[in-house]
Amino acid sequence: MEILLEGEGELLGWHDPDENRKWVLENKSRHLHDKRMGVKEAVGKFVRDGDYVACGGFGHIRTPMALIYEIIRQGRRNLAMAGKTAVHDIDILIGAGCVTRVEVAYAFGHELRGLSPAGRRAVETGQCKVVAEISNAGYQWRFLAGMMGVPFIPSRNMMGTDTLKKSCCKVVKDPWSGKPICLIPAAYPDVAMLHVHRCDMYGNAQIDGILVEDFELARAARRVLITTEEIVDNEVIRNEPYRTAIPFFLVDAVCEVPYGTHPAEMPYLYFYDEEHIGEWLELSKTPEGTKQYFDKYVFGVEDFQEYLELVGGVRKLNYLKRVERFQEPMRAPWLEKK
């Protein structure tokens, strides 16, 4: 195949498909066994300095915040992160100094809330480096290629743009149509972290609502850590097997963390905590404020349970449930400034 154009971006997390098959053969257990553990143990065991990590959900929806706070608490450094629509998750990890390299589809923004002070400051001062650009479909198809065990997926997006020039993709001449076609290389994150609605002790996980790209991500990543709103009996899974998005043999750790995505949104259960996100957006405007945030909400608490008490406890969580169900309007400090 004739190569027409090669992106200059760094190729994160790529392996020769045979090398990855061998890794899977040697490292991934097919044994149906109890994988329950605490987030402290899960991060301690499976997340190493320098790893290439990706979070499930959509940046501020179903993001694995309990694991993210634990990564900060354990002081992981030099992580590379998939900016596969990364919002609050990556902003917090960059702000804490854990993530220093990002492949960006979407990062450094909070959608309608505006841009991320911490993430932008880190990139504009060179503390965090963007190693490649890509689009959302592009990132998602990197995981699709990884999941399928093939080196790349052909696609028709990105061509003609600087997004492609700064990506890890290549453009070739399609042997069938004769037209240029973009080849998106596989990505195999070292660790994927996902928060789900329910999961059994073996790791069979169900997600209510959109899957975003968790189906593909969980199958492409080498290690998969799951936090779940609740751990259910294996019978619950077997009664409705069509609801399983992630089967156990992909999963390495199962942690029960109710409200584990706070302050992000958990579809059907609780809404974003806009007051908390607003506090972060305000404090993260300065390095001192950023430190103050982490001292209070991450280093100042023992675990996620204590953090939930600190952010407002049962009263706050019940309010977030009502907002999710349209029973109460949301309160958002960032809105006052609009």
């Binding site: 501020h60 990062a107 932008r120 479909a137 028709r156």
Partner: protein, 258 residues
């Protein structure tokens, strides 16, 4: 007879003008910000059969209020499917999306959009969020509608970074690059007016100005030359009913202000 409103802000006007462009029984891939509210307004007025698709997997929602994110639960409230990004992006690539609807930070005369950086990519002066789903919408939908603020720093002779493809460097460039045939920017809506793209040159052309806006205003707020045809229309201001609906969709004023 719809009553025209006498007082409205530029964002309300842009949302109404954009909403009227969307056709009933067609599909639209919606990006974050004003595109969301304009599509929801269209659904409540002339286009009840408008099929709204969100990149994270929400398909055909009937949400009572504006989502904050293109992936939150409001994007699949009373939807026909809560699917995945792979599904949403694949059906778009396969040709099911009539319109893509985007916001932008900077644009050039061919409708190429920058939402990545101001300044050098290696050492950016300002870092924006990047493509997100924008490049995918702009590459893969049949027609793209862009909604943005207009001034000399946003309507640029050359954008610092082409995040999302417009007509690239002119006629035939998209197809030569490998993008789907016949796709590309269709309309641009700013606080000053509405633009289309010239058939022959693929350069931006004024279609209509908003009430009270002059052609001079349009020219003064662009760093590139906009084609000004003999006939230029004037857009209709929002109606009282449209404004009422906008505030019903966005009671908190997240997108259109209070």
């Amino acid at each position: 007879m719809a009553h025209q409103a006498t007082e409205y802000n530029p964002r309300e006007l842009q949302a109404c003008v954009a909403s009227r462009m969307l056709e009933d029984k067609k599909s639209v891939f919606v990006g974050t910000g004003l595109p969301m509210i304009a599509s929801m307004l269209a659904q409540r007025t002339h286009a009840p059969g408008l099929l709204i698709i969100f990149e994270a997997g929400g398909m055909g929602p009937q949400s009572p209020v504006l989502p904050i994110s293109v992936g939150d639960s409001r994007t699949f409230y009373r939807a026909v499917a809560a699917s995945s990004m792979h599904d949403a992006m694949s059906v778009t690539q396969a040709g099911y999306l009539d319109y893509g609807f985007l916001g932008a930070a900077q644009m050039d005369m061919y409708g190429n959009i920058n939402t990545t950086v101001i300044g050098d990519w290696e050492r950016p002066k300002v870092r924006f969020p990047g493509s997100g789903g924008a490049n995918d919408l702009g590459s893969l939908c049949h027609r793209t509608i862009i909604i943005m603020g207009q001034d000399k720093r946003r309507f640029m002779e050359k954008v610092d970074f082409v995040t999302t493809p417009g007509y690239l460097d002119g006629p035939g460039a998209r197809e030569r690059a490998g993008l789907p045939e016949g796709s590309g920017p269709y309309r641009v809506i700013t606080q000053l007016g509405v633009y289309s793209f010239d058939e022959e040159t693929k350069r931006m052309k004024l279609l209509a100005v908003h009430p009270g806006v002059t052609i001079e205003d349009v020219k003064e707020n662009s760093s590139f030359e906009i084609i000004i045809p003999e006939e230029v229309g004037t857009t209709k201001p929002p109606t009282e009913e449209e404004l009422r609906l906008l505030h019903e969709i966005d009671p908190a004023g997240m997108s259109i202000g209070k």
